[in-house]
């Protein structure tokens, strides 16, 4: 390995066998400090599984507002940035395609005839708790969604809050990955609740009964 060409050259005496461990230690500390001073984008990668649920015989419009598509969580006093929009759209696409016989993207709450209703998911809040604050070994994430269902003329059929939770064990020097895992678990939790409890939500149930669709 070549000696460092800049930075550490001025601090370290001429390389010799005895100084190599110290040079390595200084380099490691410098790299760790550099990592600490930069922002960390929380990775939210991976495929979401298809839910095993019976599809409701409905033709649903799926509406994603720009607030959802571009939702990002960034705290001024934190180095962590969480891009929640795109992975949530991917998640909802996956579950809605299995929850309804037809799930068609729409751009308005009044798509007109041809649709039984429109469903619109939104993220209201994203909160996380770090182990340093909670005193536990886990990163904990809570995502509060709002799910709204409209009739084809834009009238509200149902609107309710869905609170999803995920946690992941803290990893040394990799807080971004731990927070990313906790966030993905919270999103999976949301998918689990929505895909299994949608038709049992009080107002939706009444609407389905009125339509004779169960």
């Amino acid at each position: 390995m070549q000696p460092a060409q800049h930075g550490t050259d001025a601090l370290v005496p001429a390389p010799s066998t005895g100084y190599r461990p110290r040079l390595a230690l200084i380099s490691a500390i410098a790299m760790a400090l550099a990592a600490c001073s930069s922002n960390i984008s929380v990775p939210l990668k991976g495929q979401f599984p298809e839910p095993i649920v019976g599809a409701l015989p409905l033709s649903m419009g799926i509406l994603y507002q720009d607030e959802l598509r571009t939702f990002r969580h960034e705290e001024p006093d934190s180095r962590l940035k969480v891009e929640l929009g795109p992975p949530n759209v991917k998640l909802f696409d996956q579950i809605f395609s299995k929850m309804f016989e037809q799930a068609v993207p729409v751009t308005t709450q009044q798509p007109g005839p041809g649709f039984d209703a429109v469903v619109e998911p939104m993220i209201e809040t994203f909160e996380y708790l770090e182990p340093a604050i909670s005193g536990s070994e886990f990163y904990a994430v809570t995502i509060r969604y709002r799910i709204s269902v409209y009739d084809p003329s834009g009238g509200v059929i149902a609107s309710w809050s869905l609170v999803a939770y995920g946690k992941s064990r803290s990893r040394a020097l990799n807080s971004g990955q731990s927070l990313g895992e906790a966030t993905l678990r919270a999103m999976r939790d949301a998918a689990a609740i929505l895909s299994t409890e949608f038709k049992d939500q009080k107002q939706v149930k009444a609407w389905l009964l009125a339509r004779n669709t169960q």
Partner: protein, 229 residues
């Protein structure tokens, strides 16, 4: 407090090598207890697969990934390795029914789960006969002592003594998906004290309670499933 002894890098390396040898030969003290409660006869036939699932409810106690990996590793080797389905694959395959919020908490919930559209067919197609739910964790219970280290231009050294108690307490609940009932429960509880004396170089005498609990639990799961035929 007096300054710890300071030695040259070469001397520290020599002492470190010796202490590494000593610490690999000497470990902390441990007590181990593995218990089994059998409720029904078990048996494994060709085509019967097993999945090891960790309980991930929304509490502070959750088995470590390393523990789950250790159990899977132990059960997938040997003369007659089990046909194991990876946890992540199975949970995705059965999504969302084995997510923390929806996963059945007791075998009594299995009939209701199998009534859900498509669930029974998917379980049959997976070939999974037994679900082994692993719960528990390893915790540091107590500790004490003090150890200080110092480093200078000519070397480094440590002096002191610390100790800590660890408790690895795990339980495996084995569910038979053919009969939709609990086949039994196995628990492993390993307590141990680790020591770290330091005279120039720290000598870790680690009680590997989690590893012992894993091996004890895996061995007993294997016997439980095979010997119950």
């Amino acid at each position: 407090m007096s300054d710890p002894a300071v030695y040259s890098s070469a001397a520290v390396c020599r002492i470190a090598a010796i202490t590494l040898c000593v610490s690999t030969l000497v470990a902390g003290c441990m007590t181990s207890r593995v218990e089994e409660i059998r409720q029904t006869a078990t048996g494994i036939t060709a085509g019967d697969a097993i999945v090891i699932l960790t309980r991930r409810d929304h509490t502070e106690i959750e088995p470590e990934e390393s523990f789950h990996g250790c159990i899977e590793k132990q059960l997938s080797r040997g003369q007659k390795p089990f046909d194991l389905r990876p946890q992540a694959e199975f949970v995705d395959y059965m999504f969302p029914w084995f997510e923390p919020r929806l996963a059945p908490a007791t075998p009594d919930a299995l009939p209701e789960l199998l009534k859900q559209p498509g669930v029974a067919e998917k379980i049959t197609a997976s070939g999974v006969r037994y679900i082994v739910w692993v719960d528990g964790t390893t915790e540091v219970m107590d500790g004490g002592g003090s150890l200080s280290c110092t480093a200078g231009p000519t070397g480094a050294g440590c002096f002191g003594f610390t100790w800590w108690d660890k408790d690895s307490d795990y339980e495996a609940s084995i569910w038979d998906l053919h009969n939709l009932e609990s086949a039994g429960t196995i628990s492993a509880d390993v307590e141990g004290t680790s020591y770290m004396p330091a005279i120039v170089v720290p000598i870790p005498l680690i009680a590997r309670t989690q590893s012992v609990a894993c091996k004890g639990l895996a061995r007993q799961i294997e016997r439980f499933l095979v010997a119950g035929q």
